[in-house]
Each structure stands twice: as structure tokens, then as C-alpha cells.
């Protein structure tokens, strides 16, 4: 039997790091990874960042990024050793037998040249086709990749096409020289979800149609499951598990792989409407001391595990009061809260440590939700110590892991809240809630004190955490835009009552009741005259009671 297209044996890759003020240190990036790839097959390399997947992908081209050395093992492409091949051999192979699709197409194209020139460049350089043949092939590729106007697409400049189209153009560039192997390095990571779908479908089709082999590098198991024949799971530069796509997805052997698979399956499970709710409110009414009317009136709702229930309403509608009832700060007047199958004690004092641990809260003002005299390490570490009895070293390691999950570095551990930005503060608060490993997190207006971009980052983080860890949120907000982004179910509250309750689609589509209509209309639109139009509309169609004062 002939040797497979690509054989990597016991690959070892090292780099030298230069920490400031210390001696240079050798770091092993990849340690003893072996793989084979047959012609026309797709191998998915998957792992978290730092797992060495990109480095392995690039090594298939005999290339190491700056400072990276391929120090051991062998890489054979079409039977030729690539690891110590002279420059001439590498030059003739790269861009011809093996091509590369980078993560950010926008950064990989030369903005000053037309797409067509760039797509056929390497094909012509290697004299694999004449210019006319190459152009014809490029146009065929454009067609197959579903690009608009394939005939004239190549005449555009990179800035004249969308990000998703650019990524496809890059795939066309990689496929144009009829390579044997294409290395896809996270080609869809920078794209939004719907564009990713299109690009993924195009890539899959192109790979099948042209019968090329591919190394598909990604951190997203769901993506790689769609496209790969075999999957290699990497962690810290070593192989965790290597097998067929089917085996990895349906029958993972290693614990790490099982976690990865489970993280995705959570996403699927959350769509199950029959599952037992983690939180149930039964006829909750509440009033503050000294008031003789109910601030909350007969509230009933459920939250399914792994989903988000958004509670929307203007200030004074009782949403934060509801949070106080749930946390036990305000015992309800009537009704009961069922949490995780058991009735929660209405007062904070009557709750067990476990119940407290499973129900965490994130506040609107991260500024005042953290003790200004405690370091980030103390703030996040305290729940670990308090609930799980973690001490010094273990605790520190867990805190660093949590910081990593909220996308902050280890260096934040000794900072004080005053030394953080608004978004970072809110992230630390999220980490503090996560540290308790809760079943439900109450998010009380967590983004309303942040500017829109930072708020978006926080929403994305919350969503990612939900997908990865299956956290359940009760998301209190007055911001319809945020609701659209995070909610699975929505409850609209007005003057202490739930006026509308149901799935996101249902609640956010017409016909609306008066109050929901007002809420929806209140999201400023980016056009002149919106304010006047909306106000006129409100006056015409809504009862005076629903129009806010001063409107």
C-alpha cells in the first residue's frame, strides 16, 4: 500500500520565550503528535487555544511561525520529508501541493489588488496552469463556493466584498492550484453564525467536489463534526484522542473529549420543553413593609435548565423586587418558590448553604458589588473557600481558571476593583458567581451600566458560558435588544404583573399587547424623526396609562 498523503510521526515543536528580566525559557508547544491523512479525507484538529493545533497545521507545510522550531519527528507529504527540507523544496511545495486558508481573510488579502489576481497568483507562480486556465478554474470555484456573479467577482477589490465572501475567495485561492492538501486554520471563527453556516457548506462541498485532503483546525467541535472524517483532539500540545468523527462524537473515550462533547450536547438539550424546570414561581405576591398593596401580583413562571428567562419591564415594574424575593431578601407575601425540585425557604436565614451556593446573583453596578478593599483573587476566591473549602494553592489555581473563562489573564488576580475597567469589573462579578458552580444565576440589569460594545462582550460571554457549562440565567433587564440576544423565554412585567410570557419568538412577534408594543417601540431606531413618529403613534394607539410620564 502506498504511503498516505500526509504522515506526521512523533512531531516535536519547541519555542523559546523571553520573559522580561528572566533567562530565556524553552517551551514545548507540540510533544510527540503522530497522524496520517489519506488522499481526499478531512482531519479535524480540535482543542482550546494553546493546544498547538495551528502549529501542527502549519508544520504540515514545513513551516514554523517566528521563533518556533520543528525539533523532532518527521513530516512527510507525498512521501517527501518536509521537516528539514531545503528552502527550494519548501517553496515548490507550498502554494502548490499544500495550501493554506487563514483565520482572518480580511487580513490575508492585499487590499490594493483585485481578488482574481490574488486568487490565481500562486497557481501561476508555480506554473501549474496558464493564466486563462487558472482564471477559468477560479470562476468555476467561485461558482461552486456560491459567490455572487462568479464571472465578475474577481474584478472586485477585497474591501468591496463581505467578510464571508472574502473567506470563500480565500478558499478558492487555496483550491485553485489543485493542491493535494489544504490547511484550514479556523476559517469560520471570525464570522458570525449565519455566515459561518454558508462558508462551512461551501468549504465542505468544495472539498468533496475536488477530492482534496484537508486539515481542518478549529476550537468548535460542532463545526468540525460537520466536515471531518477523522478528528484529533489536542490539549497542551499532546494528543488526547484520535479517531473517526463518528467515534469521537458518539463514543468519546477520554474524559476531556467527553467534556467537549457534553458541552455541545447541553445546547441541544436546552430545546427540550418537557424537561423539569430548575426554578418555578407559584403565585408569588410581595409587598414591602409599610405598604398596603402588592408590588408583585401573582407571578407564575418556570425556568428550564440551561436556558435564559428574560424579565423585561421599565423601572418600577417589579423586576428587581422579584430578584429580591428569589434571593430571600424579601420574603413573599403569598406563593412559593420551587428551586431544583424543592420549595425554597422564603427567608434567607432558612436556606441551606447548598441552596445559597446554587443560586447566585450578578448585580447591575459592578462597582459597588465588589469590596473595593479586596483583590480580584479574594473576591473570586471567597466562594471557593466558603462553599468548597479550597485553600491557598488549589484556590489560586481555580481562580486563574475562572479568570481564563471570563477571558481575563492571570495577572488580574492581584488587582483591586478600582484598577479594572467597567467591563472587566462585570466579568469579575460573573466569575464570582460562577465560582460557586450555581444552578441558576440571577443577572440584574448586568449590562445597563456599560457602554454598548462592552455590554455586547458581556452578553456574548454569558451566552458562551451557557453553551459550555449549561448555566441557567434569570436575566432582568429593560433592554429589548439585550433580550433578543440572550433570552429563550421572556416575561414582560408591568406594574408588578406579568403581562406577557412565553418563548422568545412568540413574545417578540405581533400581535402585541399595549405595553409590550410600547416597550418594543421604545428601542431607538437609527433614523431621523423616529422619536416624533413613535410618540405620535403612542398617543394614538395606547391608553394614557401606558405612556410614560413626560412622553
Amino acid at each position: 500500500m502506498a504511503e498516505p498523503l500526509l504522515v506526521i510521526e512523533d512531531l516535536k515543536i519547541e519555542a523559546t520565550s523571553y520573559p522580561p528580566g528572566e533567562k530565556p525559557q524553552k517551551i514545548t508547544i507540540v510533544n510527540g503528535v503522530s497522524l496520517t491523512l489519506e488522499k481526499g479525507k478531512v482531519l479535524g484538529l480540535i482543542g482550546e487555544s494553546g493546544a498547538g493545533k495551528s502549529t501542527i497545521g502549519l508544520s504540515a507545510m514545513g513551516y514554523g511561525r517566528g521563533g518556533v522550531r520543528l525539533t523532532g519527528g518527521s513530516i512527510r507529504l507525498n512521501g517527501r520529508e518536509m521537516r528539514r527540507a531545503p528552502g527550494k523544496v519548501l517553496r515548490s511545495t507550498r502554494g502548490a501541493e499544500v495550501t493554506y486558508v487563514a483565520q482572518s481573510a480580511a487580513a490575508a488579502f492585499n487590499p490594493a489588488r483585485k481578488l482574481m489576481d490574488q486568487v490565481v497568483e500562486s497557481t501561476l507562480k508555480h506554473k501549474r496552469m496558464t493564466r486563462a486556465e487558472a482564471k477559468a478554474r477560479a470562476i468555476e470555484l467561485f461558482t461552486r463556493l456560491g459567490l455572487p456573479d462568479p464571472e465578475t467577482f474577481g474584478d472586485r477589490f477585497p474591501h468591496q466584498v463581505s467578510g464571508g465572501q472574502l473567506q470563500r475567495a480565500m478558499t478558492a485561492m487555496a483550491l485553485c492550484p489543485k493542491p493535494d492538501l489544504v490547511v484550514f486554520d479556523e476559517p469560520t471563527t471570525a464570522l458570525d453564525v449565519t455566515t459561518q453556516l454558508g462558508v462551512l457548506a461551501a468549504i465542505k462541498k468544495a472539498i468533496r467536489d475536488f477530492d482534496v485532503a484537508a486539515l481542518y483546525i478549529t476550537h468548535d467541535l460542532a463545526v468540525v463534526a460537520q466536515i471531518a472524517d477523522n478528528i484529533m483532539v489536542l490539549r497542551g500540545g499532546e494528543t488526547v484522542e484520535y479517531g473517526t468523527c463518528d467515534q469521537i462524537i458518539n463514543n468519546p473515550q477520554e474524559e476531556y473529549t467527553q467534556d467537549l462533547v457534553a458541552a455541545i450536547n447541553v445546547e441541544r438539550r436546552e430545546r427540550d420543553p418537557d424537561e423539569k424546570p430548575v426554578l418555578t414561581l407559584r403565585g408569588i405576591s410581595a409587598r414591602y413593609r409599610g405598604l398596603d398593596f402588592d408590588v408583585l401580583k401573582n407571578i407564575n413562571m418556570d425556568v428550564q435548565p440551561g436556558t435564559t428567562l428574560a424579565i423585561v419591564g421599565e423601572s418600577g415594574s417589579g423586576k428587581s423586587t422579584l430578584a429580591r424575593v428569589l434571593t430571600g431578601l424579601l420574603p413573599p407575601h403569598t406563593g412559593a418558590v420551587e428551586f431544583d425540585g424543592a420549595v425554597l425557604s422564603s427567608a434567607l436565614k432558612g436556606r441551606s448553604k447548598q441552596e445559597l451556593q446554587e443560586l447566585q446573583m450578578i448585580y447591575q453596578m459592578a462597582d459597588v458589588a465588589m469590596n473595593p478593599r479586596q483583590t480580584v483573587g479574594t473576591i473570586i476566591g471567597r466562594p471557593l473557600e466558603f462553599y468548597f473549602g479550597l485553600k491557598s494553592k488549589e484556590k489560586r489555581e481555580r481562580v486563574i481558571k475562572l479568570l481564563d473563562r471570563i477571558e481575563l489573564g492571570e495577572e488580574f488576580i492581584d488587582r483591586y476593583p478600582a484598577e479594572l475597567s467597567g467591563g472587566q469589573k462585570q466579568r469579575v462579578c460573573i466569575a464570582r458567581a460562577l465560582a460557586a458552580e450555581p444552578k441558576l444565576i440571577i443577572c440584574d440589569e448586568v449590562t445597563s451600566a456599560l457602554d454598548p460594545l462592552v455590554a455586547k462582550g458581556i452578553l456574548k460571554l454569558l451566552r458562551d458560558l451557557q453553551l459550555k457549562e449549561g448555566v441557567t440565567y434569570l436575566f432582568i433587564t429593560h433592554d429589548i435588544a439585550a433580550v433578543r440576544e440572550v433570552a429563550d423565554t421572556i416575561a414582560v412585567m408591568y406594574r408588578g404583573e406579568v403581562v406577557r410570557y412565553g418563548g422568545k419568538q412568540e413574545v417578540l412577534s405581533p400581535p402585541f399587547d399595549d405595553y409590550t408594543e410600547l416597550l418594543m417601540r421604545s428601542v431607538p431606531e437609527m433614523r431621523l424623526g423616529w422619536l416624533e413618529d413613535t410618540l405620535t403613534l403612542l398617543e394614538e394607539h395606547l391608553p394614557a396609562s401606558a405612556v410614560p410620564e413626560g412622553a
Partner: protein, 273 residues
């Protein structure tokens, strides 16, 4: 932080430290014994007696040094009593709230409604005047001020979200008081501590001057003023010297306390700063 000490604070620090060192090393520094009669009545300053002698011929400098020791140590002890009792009760009241807070606060109001000097005179006139009794009486009276300050500052903090977060976590009362609130109230309290110390010095001196403080033959600054007050009529400055010492200590400790207050509250993340 320590690098740039403003001159007033530096001056205050040096004077304060000198006073404390003098108090600690009094037996070695004082040229004569505390109640040793070494010369004539009210001798003027000379090489043998730098500040002259007092109303019965004791060396005034030695008397001042020993007196400073007594005054400062009694004041420190009383201030500590005030600080510990006042702050602990203040934080406790703020965190618990409700009727406990009401009861404690009203009690403190009641005590503060009575002029503290008169209150102390009454109490000390029926109790044996010993140093521990003096320390406790003065300490408890001053504790009312510490109570009010710490309660006021902590009451603001007790309703903040991070305290609520700690409560929702299920933390006990002592964690909330000592780990969440105390670190945030400590800087105004430290500044207040400096102020209290001065008031206690004045208080103890006043009591001694009135004869209900430190009892002779032990010296303290108030007592020295009392012993020598008659000399003023004859133009003898002996009574003024302890007054100068009290003023110098008061001003210098104040300068240091101001600096500490400024430094700790101007830290990023300090209250209102």
C-alpha cells in the same frame, strides 16, 4: 506613598515620635527622679535645671518627662478602649440594624447629652481614682464618638451590593463586619483615632488639673499645671511649660492624622475617592 511626606506631616511625625520616645525612655532621659526634691522653690532655668524647678523644688524637666509618660500612656490606653468598644459596637449596630441599632444609638445619644467632663467628675468622685478606673471612664466616654462615626460610615456600606452579595453567599456576621466592612471604614477611623487621642490627652489633663485625674506624687501634665498655677501670679512660667507640651503634642498628632486621612482616602478605590 511614604516617599513624599508633606513638610507639615513630617514635622508632626518627628515631634510626635520624640514625645513617644521621651515617654518610653523617661527613666533614662530624665536627669533627676520624678519626685526628688533637688533645689529651691521655683528656681529659674540653669545649667543644672534646664527648665528650673517647681513649687516644691523638683526638677521641672524631669517632672515634664515623667508627666508626659503618664499622660501619653493613659491617653493611649483610654483611646484604645474608646476605639475598640466604640468601633465594635458601631459596626455591630450598623450591620444588625433594627432595634439593636436603635437601642445602642439612643443609649449613646443619652450619654453624649451629658457634658462629658461633668459626667466624668461625677463618676470619678464616687469611684476610687486609680489609673485603670480613669482609663475605663475616659475610654467609655470617648467611645460614644467612635461609635457614632463608625456606625455612620458602616451604615452607608452595609446597604451596598457587595455586602448583600456576601450575605447571599451565606457569610456569617463576623465575616461581614471584619472582612467586608472594616477594611472600608478603617481610614476615617484611623484619622478619628488621632483626634480622639488628643481629646483624651486634654481630658485627662483637665481631670488632673481639677484633682480627679492622676494623683500626686505621680506627675502628669495637667497635674503639673495645677501644682504650679500659683507661680503665674509671680511671673513664673513653670505652669505654662506643660501647657506648651500639651499644645505641641496635640498639633503634631493632628498633622499626622490629617496626613493619614488624606493619604488613605485619596487612594483610588477609597470611599468617595
Amino acid at each position: 506613598m511614604i516617599k513624599r511626606i508633606p513638610y507639615p506631616a513630617l514635622f508632626g511625625l518627628i515631634v510626635t515620635i520624640s514625645f513617644f520616645l521621651a515617654a518610653v525612655f523617661a527613666p533614662w532621659l530624665a536627669p533627676y527622679g520624678m519626685s526628688q526634691v533637688v533645689g529651691d522653690v521655683w528656681e529659674p532655668a540653669s545649667a543644672a535645671h534646664w527648665l528650673g524647678t517647681d513649687n516644691i523644688g523638683r526638677d521641672l524637666l524631669s517632672r515634664l518627662i515623667y508627666g508626659g509618660q503618664t499622660t501619653i500612656f493613659v491617653a493611649i490606653a483610654a483611646t484604645m478602649v474608646a476605639f475598640v468598644v466604640g468601633t465594635a459596637l458601631g459596626l455591630f449596630a450598623a450591620v444588625i440594624g433594627g432595634w439593636v441599632d436603635q437601642a445602642l444609638s439612643r443609649l449613646v445619644d443619652l450619654i453624649m447629652a451629658i457634658p462629658s467632663l461633668i459626667f466624668a467628675l461625677v463618676v470619678l468622685s464616687v469611684m476610687p481614682v486609680t489609673v485603670p478606673v480613669l482609663v475605663i471612664v475616659v475610654g467609655l466616654l470617648e467611645a460614644t464618638r467612635m461609635f457614632r462615626l463608625s456606625r455612620a460610615v458602616a451604615a452607608d456600606l452595609a446597604v451596598m451590593d457587595f455586602v448583600e452579595a456576601a450575605r447571599l453567599r451565606g457569610e456569617g456576621r463576623s465575616w461581614v463586619i471584619f472582612r467586608e466592612i472594616l477594611p472600608n471604614v478603617i481610614s476615617p477611623l484611623i484619622a478619628e483615632l488621632g483626634m480622639r487621642f488628643i481629646f483624651v490627652v486634654l481630658f485627662v489633663s483637665t481631670l488632673s488639673f481639677l484633682g480627679l485625674g492622676i494623683q500626686p506624687p505621680h506627675a502628669d501634665w495637667g497635674g503639673i499645671v495645677k501644682e504650679n498655677k500659683d507661680g503665674i501670679v509671680y511671673g513664673i512660667p513653670a505652669a505654662l511649660l506643660p501647657a506648651v507640651a500639651i499644645a505641641a503634642l496635640a498639633i503634631s498628632v493632628n498633622l499626622v492624622a490629617d496626613w493619614i486621612l488624606e493619604r488613605t482616602t485619596s487612594l483610588k478605590g477609597g470611599r468617595n475617592g
